[in-house]
């Protein structure tokens, strides 16, 4: 049991902090989930990449720094503390990239990862369909084999695709064997959004951003080299990604530590009733608990103990914490909470936490069944 970072890791922290303090845009960028904001974010992403901060935990050959998980956590902590911009590349870097590291070919990694790190390829996820939200296995978008052309022809509709209207590529599941059972017969594809037959239509989100899209595919050709993993094994591949989405990689604890600290600042900035000050303290305690749980989990991963359903516990904790934290902020703001701004938008965004990446109801099922061994009911 040792909770002190090594001197080298602290030097890494200092380097990251110095760079961030010098470079983080001030005033903050507009939301990256609007068309105008997205452009500003791309510039930021390219600056990050140029200085090697885009994907610190990746191998250097793909644009990373070979940073350990500890350094990755440190970087994320400093990133959040500095109030640096939301990562509009996150679906690629935090969801697709881990999948490619585990299931991709060397050719795919070489082709996709550096372009992704450089924010040249911008990836959105194509999981949900109108009839397949929580029930991901209900996917009906299909891919039909085109043997002559050496690939597949994709047809169907993906929806609730975050930032889909601003991205260049989509990764997602399509049904390649309509006769196989629900979870079988799905295949994981990489699809350029400028391919013939793709149409993307943005639509609005609760927080006022335009950052959702419907993606319609009509007979879109995708070559074999853009299949990830083996045909028919897309569910397995996707679940690995979904694990990342729920777990550590999407929501590093630094984000909540920083949010709790900002909430404390908000409370200090004016008179706050005891109930709301308690809310601030609880938010801080919740963020701290998440941080410590993560340290325990990372230690386990580094020592070869697989996290298992811990990703579901993780997701339940941070998503409920995030809602409560922003509810406290809203009450602290009083009438000003109806004025468009960072906190009110953060509140609206927090409400998506218990829904996306597998609703919290699904996560509780997973905990009950896989951790506690309760029957599937």
């Amino acid at each position: 049991m040792d909770l002190t970072h090594s001197r080298e890791d602290e030097e890494f922290r200092a380097e990251a902090r110095d760079w961030l303090v010098a470079n983080v845009p001030d005033p903050p960028l507009p939301s990256g989930d609007t068309r105008a904001g997205f452009a500003a974010h791309l510039e930021w992403e390219r600056r990050l990449f140029a200085e090697g901060w885009s994907a610190v935990s990746w191998p250097r050959r793909y644009g990373g720094r070979d940073a350990s998980l500890w350094r990755w956590l440190i970087f994320e902590e400093e990133y959040a503390r500095a109030g640096a911009p939301q990562r509009v590349t996150q679906n690629g870097i935090f969801l697709l990239a881990p999948t490619l590291f585990e299931f991709g070919t060397a050719e795919q990694r070489d082709r996709v990862l550096p372009a992704m790190a450089a924010a040249e390829q911008l990836w959105c996820q194509g999981w949900s369909e109108p009839g397949a939200g929580s029930d991901l296995a209900a996917i009906t978008s299909r891919a039909v084999r085109d043997e002559a052309a050496g690939g597949w022809r994709l047809t169907g509709q993906k929806t609730w695709t975050t930032r889909g209207a601003f991205c260049t590529h989509l990764f997602g599941l399509f049904r390649t064997d309509p006769d196989a059972p629900r979870h079988r017969g799905l295949t994981y594809f990489l699809v350029p959004l400028d391919a013939p037959g793709v149409e993307v239509r943005g639509f609005g989100r609760l927080d006022g951003d335009e950052g959702f899209a419907d993606v319609f595919l009509t007979d879109v050709f995708v070559p074999d080299r853009d299949v990830v993993g083996r045909p028919g094994e897309g569910w397995k591949v996707a679940m690995a990604t979904t694990g990342s989405e729920r777990g550590l990689t999407l929501r590093p604890p630094g984000r909540f530590l920083a949010a709790a600290e900002r909430l404390a600042e908000l409370a200090r900035s004016g008179p706050a009733p005891a109930r709301l000050r308690e809310g601030v303290v609880r938010a801080w305690i919740g963020a701290r608990a998440y941080d410590l749980y993560t340290l325990q989990q990372v230690t386990g991963m580094l020592e070869g103990r697989p996290p298992g359903a811990a990703a579901s516990l993780n997701k339940l904790w941070w998503s409920e914490l995030d809602v409560r934290l922003h509810e406290t902020a809203r009450e602290l703001l009083g009438p000003e909470s109806d004025v468009d701004g960072l906190w009110p938008r953060g509140f609206l965004f927090s409400l998506a936490g218990p829904i996306y990446a597998g609703t919290n109801e699904i996560q509780r099922n997973i905990v009950a069944e896989r951790v506690l061994g309760l029957p599937r009911g």
């Binding site: 609730w160 639509f203 989100r205 609760l206 909470s337 109806d338 004025v339 468009d340 829904i355």
Partner: protein
């Protein structure tokens, strides 16, 4: 004479008339139009024609002479429809206050006739409906300020339907009003928020129940899952128990009961938390659909959040109850 905790036939008839009118003339599309800046003048005209603007003004002054109880019942419906107009502010708060104060400034006729819509200034010079009202009142006291034609700027709001503005300067030009009348007006404003929140809570639950009965996942309606059922049952419980408290507080306001402050605050706390819980449950049970603005739910959720933010907040009302019970 004995206890009877229910609307009279007349009261229920007025409530039903308002409900029917709003069902026809204030569908979600009307709220959406208000987001786009349309003033909803036609709807206001219809409400004025119903007599609503003068409903709480004594008959001898040209109103209908109805009580806070009728107003509360109607305001539940106004909340249910998320009417994008200052109905509560004008009809339930300003009109009886101006009438009781001897019509200072001479605005009462305009209010009764529907020509003058009244908005209320908030704590931080924010005025909901400021862009859609002819008169702005500040109830903060010690005086009452009529703030027509003050410089104000539109403010981008989370609830985009209320034409929110911020006054450029602190309220001035106050004329004196009896402190008791002002306190009653503030309680009526809180009560009006509570009543609308009950209606909004019910609307969000209705939308959600309809959705989860239709939406299928894993081969069955989402509404068949116990987690969804129980969450909606709990949210229903809170809304159902808030409504009688709102009606009782209205009765206390109408009858000059000494417990009025305590009762209004009790109703406020119950309604505010019921609506917040209903919004949370509704969004969660809708899944991603609850997060899209193409769907109607957000219109009602954002109104609920905005209304709950307008006043002094739950803590101030908890404190008033604490005072009343000596804790």
């Amino acid at each position: 004479m004995t206890v009877r905790f229910a609307l009279t036939t007349d009261q229920a008839a007025l409530r039903d008339a308002a409900r029917d009118l709003l069902a026809t003339h204030c569908p979600p599309g009307t709220v959406r139009e208000a987001w786009d800046g349309k003033p909803a003048d036609g709807l206001w005209r219809r409400l004025a024609d119903l007599g609503l603007t003068g409903a709480a003004v004594p008959e001898e002054l040209g109103g209908l002479g109805l009580s806070d109880v009728e107003m509360a019942a109607v305001l539940v419906e106004v909340g249910y429809a998320a009417v994008p107009l200052p109905v509560a502010e004008t009809a339930a708060v300003a009109a009886p206050l101006l009438a009781a104060a001897g019509d200072p400034g001479g605005h009462l006729a305009g209010v009764l006739g529907g020509a003058t819509r009244v908005a209320l200034a908030g704590r931080t010079r924010l005025v909901p409906y400021g862009g859609r009202a002819e008169l702005v009142l500040d109830l903060a006291g010690p005086g009452l300020a009529a703030l027509a034609d003050l410089p104000a700027e539109p403010v981008p709001a989370i609830d985009g339907s209320r034409a929110l503005v911020r006054l450029a300067e602190a309220p001035g030009g106050a004329f004196e009003v009896d402190a008791g009348a002002l306190a009653l007006a503030r309680d009526r404003a809180a009560l009006a928020v509570a009543a609308q929140l009950v209606g909004l809570g019910r609307r969000m639950l209705d939308l959600t129940v309809a959705y989860v009965r239709e939406r299928h996942q894993f081969g069955v309606p989402v509404g068949g899952f116990q987690a969804v059922k129980h969450r909606l049952a709990d949210a229903t419980l809170e809304v159902e128990f808030a409504e009688p408290a709102v009606l009782q507080a209205a009765w206390a306001a109408a009858t000059g009961a000494p417990t009025r402050a305590r009762d209004v605050s009790t109703a406020y706390v119950l309604a505010a938390e019921a609506a917040a819980g209903a919004a949370r449950a509704a969004i969660q049970c809708h899944g991603a659909m609850g997060y899209t603005v193409e769907y109607d739910l957000h219109l009602y959720a954002k109104r609920a959040w905005a209304l709950a933010a307008d006043g002094d907040g739950v803590d101030a009302h908890l404190a008033r109850v604490a005072d009343a019970i000596g804790v």
